[in-house]
């Protein structure tokens, strides 16, 4: 039953593109320099760690053999991670996703502290902060991030009398969410259809800009129902969605069909979404990316590498994790799988990022989105991210309840107030 969710989950966690073959175990026992060790790296979807990349490490460290296990989905990896975290049996280096990072943080004592002078300042501050526990231990090395831009359909913009050039669209949309919805009304006044896909996805973009939305960072208590900001966003987005939404729940069959048939004009676009759009609407040529995001920057998704303490070769594993997450390697992973770097040095190397977006199968991302400056756009979007939202033990359960509440308004089965009240009751029952 999980195999089927795979198709969606790949889209969910984003790392699209062509999947690299399974990790192969080259067991040539070259034993010069140090004890021979075999290290396993467990990843999911496609991290862009190609055989060639791993071979590079093995060539530089002849005593090390690296074997990669790739899980189909982030969900599979999550289940496996928590089933074995206490009991033992995890790989030497285990990838985790930011979605379940809060759950891993509860067991921070079971994974190694990875902080060291060598890697200090390697990543964007908020990326490192999210993986640092209250005692100051760094439990994961950042791999990729999902800085969000706005994707838009230039043909639809033109038909509704809006500008079509990415730079002009960026300045048109510059502002807060209320402004984004206003432009949507302009678009509809000009004869356009739906402005965005669903209230759910839009709310996700909004709530990810709130520093402490659902839980008190100091006590971990659930504050979602008392937090006026949450309710305001809920009401704001459901009101706007009435006219502006295409009412297509994200990742549903209808959503993919809607994308293929250009049902809506704009889409919140993390870097990994490019592959999803291209995959769902291969024949469309009018999608563009604007260097702007309502309400400032926003991040959606991304992963880390952890070293579980139950492993046998902790020092070697840390070395490998540090190497894999170094800027040079991340740029190669970007070229292979589209995983956008979280490392400041890699982000500064705009030429390399642009080149990575322009490589791969034809049409490349650069060709499909009609620009060769995708690297500039997403680096600038990454710089704009200023908030690392606090996500505690209950974050995902609360968020799930609110997302369901939004869906009930979207599908017309309840009005916003009824739906919100039900969500409040469900959240109160959590504790």
């Amino acid at each position: 039953m999980v195999a089927g969710t795979a198709a969606f989950a790949i889209a969910l966690t984003g790392c699209g593109g062509s999947s690299s073959p399974e990790g192969s175990s080259s067991a040539d026992g070259d034993t010069t320099g140090g004890e021979p060790v075999t290290l396993t790296v467990a990843t999911f979807n496609d991290f862009g760690y190609t055989d060639a990349l791993l071979q590079e490490y093995m060539d530089a460290n002849p005593n090390v053999t690296v074997v990669q296990n790739i899980a189909a989905t982030s969900n599979d990896a999550r289940t496996n991670y928590f089933a074995k975290l206490g009991a033992g049996g995890l790989a030497d280096v285990e990838a985790i996703e930011v979605d379940w990072l809060p759950e891993v943080m509860q067991y921070a004592d079971l994974v190694e502290d990875l902080s060291s002078a060598d890697v200090e300042g390697r990543w964007l501050d908020w990326k490192t902060e999210a993986a640092t526990d209250p005692d100051g231990r760094l439990i994961g090395y950042g791999t990729d991030i999902g800085p969000e831009a706005i994707c838009y359909d230039a043909a639809k913009f033109e038909a509704a009398g809006l500008p079509t050039d990415p730079a002009e669209v960026a300045s048109l949309l510059e502002g807060d969410w209320a402004h984004y919805f206003e432009v949507g009304e302009q678009y509809q006044a000009g004869g356009g259809g739906a402005w965005f896909e669903s209230a759910n996805a839009t709310y996700q973009g909004m709530i990810n800009q709130v520093a402490a939305a659902y839980e008190d960072p100091d006590t971990g208590e659930i504050i979602a129902t008392d937090n006026a900001e949450v309710k305001d966003l809920f009401m704001q987005v459901t009101e706007a969605a009435g006219d502006l939404s295409a009412h297509l729940p994200q990742w549903s069959d209808d959503w993919f069909a809607g994308l293929a048939q250009s049902e809506f004009a704009t889409l919140l676009c993390p870097g990994w979404m490019l592959g999803v759009v291209q995959g769902a609407a291969p024949d469309t040529t009018t999608w563009n990316v604007a260097d702007v995001f309502p309400g400032g920057g926003g991040n959606w998704g991304g992963s880390y590498l952890t070293v579980p303490s139950s492993g046998e070769n902790l020092e070697e594993a840390k070395k490998l994790a540090a190497w894999l997450t170094a800027p040079e390697q991340q740029l190669k992973a970007l070229a292979a799988a589209g995983t956008f770097p979280s490392q400041t040095d890699a982000l500064a190397d705009l030429d390399a990022i642009n080149a990575a977006f322009a490589s791969g199968d034809s049409p490349t991302k650069a060709e499909y989105f009609n620009t060769d400056s995708l690297g500039d756009i997403f680096s600038s979007r990454a710089d704009a991210v200023s908030v690392a939202p606090f996500k505690g033990e209950f974050y995902f359960q609360v968020n799930d309840i609110i997302q369901n509440a939004l869906t009930r308004v979207e599908d017309g089965s309840q009005d916003a107030t009824t739906s919100w009240d039900q969500a409040v009751a469900e959240i109160s029952a959590l504790g």
Partner: protein, 318 residues
Amino acid sequence: MTTTPVRRETRSLTARQRLGRLDVKLSPYLYIAPFFIVFGIVGIFPILYTAYISLQDWDLVRNTGEYIGFEHFTWVLQDREFWIALRNTFSIFLLSSVPQILVATFIAYQLDHNLRAKTFWRMGVLLPYVVAPVAVALIFSNMFGDKYGLVNTVLNDLGLNSILWHTDVIPSHIAIATMVNFRWTGYNALILLAAMQAIPRDLYEAAAIDGASSLRRFFSVTVPQIRPTLIFVILTSTIGGLQIFDEPRMYDQTGTGGANKQWLTLTMYLYNTGWGKFDFGRAAAIAWILFLIIVAFSLINFFITRRLVADDASGGKR
């Protein structure tokens, strides 16, 4: 009279003979032992261990728990989602099992006639069973899409309104039951067909000579004769129906039963609690409640079926 020589014989048994007797007495148990040993390991032990965990506030990762008595059970029984899941499970079960068994019996009765290309028709009804459930779910959830689904497109072409398959409760149950029926009707038909083939033909001939119509022959000969198989089919589909998981989980992209839990079933509720929230104590409690429900319901079904079919059989009982 006859006991004396036997006793004498026993006394005079050689070691070899004794072994032989032991062999005869014990062998059958020995031969079936592997099943029960394996069943004990993978069946009984987990059931008991689940009971143990259900009384604890369990931490899967650290593998430790704190005894809290029946708190999980009271929590679950007070949870709104549990009752919704129970409602959905029974609704989907009824929508699938009842038509399924009726249709399966009808199909089997037709296949029992002398048809041309018998094997072709018989294999044909089994075909859906060979398709993987996940594939079935993918195809059907595409058909039952709210906006771009095939079913709604056809309805619109006929001038009817779209049905909100993922919003309204009953349509979502019907869609899921359709997947279940698609998969299991043919399978049950074949089992019933096998039972029908075992009915002696002279019973039909005798009934025909007595002037019984085709319908009468079906109810007075076929149905009573396949009673044990019918009970088996009803029991297995009860157990299977109450544990329905694949189809509702594959019904939308998140697999959590819908925004208002429209098609959340008990096994999905169990799964979400265990592998979604990692609350294994509570999940274990749900597992036990589900177990008890299934046992109770199977027993009820067993007695009802026996009574019903027995009444029908009053005329032509074997």
